[in-house]
Amino acid sequence: MRHLMSPLDFTTQELDRLFDLAGDIERNPGKYAHACDGKILATCFYEPSTRTRLSFESAMTRLGGRVIGFSDANSSSAAKGESVSDTIRVISCYADICAMRHPKEGAPMVAAERSGIPVINAGDGGHQHPTQTLTDLLTIRSLKGSLGGFTIGLCGDLKFGRTVHSLIHALIRYDNIRYLFISPEELRVPDYITDMLRTRGIPFREVIRLEDVMPDLDLLYMTRVQKERFFNEEDYVRLKDFYILDAMKLSKAKDDMLILHPLPRVNEISVEVDDDPRAAYFKQAQYGVYVRMALILTLLELA
C-alpha cells in the first residue's frame, strides 16, 4: 500500500506514468467514469480549503466513487480531543482512500503510519502540498511540452508558501532549470532550499523587483501572501500587497511565458491579466482534477 506525503514519493518515471494517465483521462473521460464504482474517498480537512477539497471530491465523483468527510476540525472528533492516529484508524474502516489536510506539519504522515488505507497529504501547515505540486508539474508538462529547459520565477511568499517549496523539491529532479526567487526580504525562500540548490550546482538568483527579471522568465509562478501563516497581523498587512501582477508589468514578459498560481488569488494578479493568453491558472485548476483522478486510481491500484 502506498501513500502520497511528498511529491518525491514518486520517481520521475512513476510521475511520467501518472501524467500520461491524467492526459488519457483528459482526452477520454468516459473511459474512467466508473473506474471507482463502489469505492469511497474520505476527505479529512482539519482546516478550511474549499478548492483542494472540491477538487478531490470532483475527481472521485468523476471516477464513479463516493465521498465522505469533514471540512473543518470543529465538525470532527478532533474538537473532542481525538488524535490523528485514532481518527485515521476509524476512517480506515469507513473508506478506501483518504485525503487529509491538517494545520500541523507532518499530521498526514502520522495518519499514514497508522492507516489501513492509502493516505494523500492534501496540505500540512507550511510544509508540503504534494497534489498541488503534481498539478503544477502536469500543467507545465502539458502546456510547455516538457519538464526542463526553462527559467522559472517564483514570486511572493517564498518563506511560508508550501506550494513553492514542494514545487522546487519536485523540479530539482529535472534538467536545465534556472530559478529566480522574487520576494521581499522578509519572505525569502528558506535557507535549506538555497543550500540544496547550491549543493547540487543548480543556478538560482534572489531578487526583490519582479520587473527586473520579467523578460527572462519562461514561467512565472505567483503566490498569495497567506494571512494564516503569520503570527503577527502587522507583518501580514505590511507585506500582503508587495507584488501585484498587472498588464503593465506583463508587457515586459515573453509572448509564450506561462503564468501559474495555485489559487485562490486575492489581488496579487490583477483581473485584467485573466484574459491574457499567458494566464494559465484556471487551466491549472482543471489539471488539478485530472491529476487527482490519476492519483486516486494509482493508489487504489485500479490504473
Binding site: 492516529s85 500541523k104 506539519e105 507532518g106 504522515m109 500540512d124
Partner: protein, 145 residues
C-alpha cells in the same frame, strides 16, 4: 584521589565534558539496565582540566552508543573485555534519533499528538544536520532540551 575498581566487561566512556555525565546516563537509559554503573564527576584531566567518566559493567551488545556521536564527538569509548581495553570504539552519527531531542516547531504535529515519538533523521551527514521526521524542521542545539 578517588579510586573506582576495574570492570571485567563493558564500557568506559572517557573525556565527557565535566557535568554532562548524568545527561549521558539518561540518554543511554542506564537506569533501565540492571548493571553496575560508576559516575565520576569532575575528574582531573590533563587535556580538559576537568572531565566526567562513566564506567558501565554490562554485556557490550547491550548499549547503543551511536547516540554519543550526536551528543559529543570528543567522548572516548573504551570497550573492556577481561578487564582490559580491547578497542577504542569509533562513534558513528546515528541515522535516526528517537525521543532524545524534541522538535520545537510549534506547527509540528509532535506538538499536539498524544504519545507521538520525537524522531529526527540525519539529513546531512557532512554538516551533521538532523531534521524532524514529521515537519522536516532542522534541529537547533540552542533550543535543545
Amino acid at each position: 584521589m578517588l579510586n573506582v575498581g576495574k570492570i571485567e566487561e563493558g564500557f568506559v566512556l572517557d573525556h565527557i565534558k565535566a557535568g554532562k555525565s548524568l545527561e549521558l546516563y539518561e540518554h543511554l537509559q542506564l537506569d533501565k539496565l540492571d548493571c553496575t554503573v560508576a559516575i565520576i564527576k569532575n575528574a582531573r584531566s590533563a587535556k580538559m582540566g576537568k572531565k566526567d567518566i562513566l564506567k558501565v559493567e554490562c554485556n557490550i551488545d547491550m548499549l547503543d552508543l551511536d547516540i554519543l556521536a550526536f551528543i559529543d564527538h570528543s567522548i572516548t569509548v573504551n570497550v573492556i573485555r577481561n578487564g582490559e581495553i580491547q578497542e577504542k570504539k569509533e562513534l558513528v552519527l546515528p541515522k535516526q534519533i528517537r525521543n532524545v531531542i524534541k522538535c520545537h516547531n510549534p506547527r509540528c504535529i509532535t506538538s499536539i499528538e498524544q504519545e507521538l515519538p520525537h524522531i529526527f533523521y540525519l539529513a546531512d551527514p557532512e554538516r551533521e544536520i538532523y531534521r524532524c521526521k514529521y515537519c522536516e524542521e532542522k534541529y537547533s542545539p540552542t533550543t535543545a532540551t
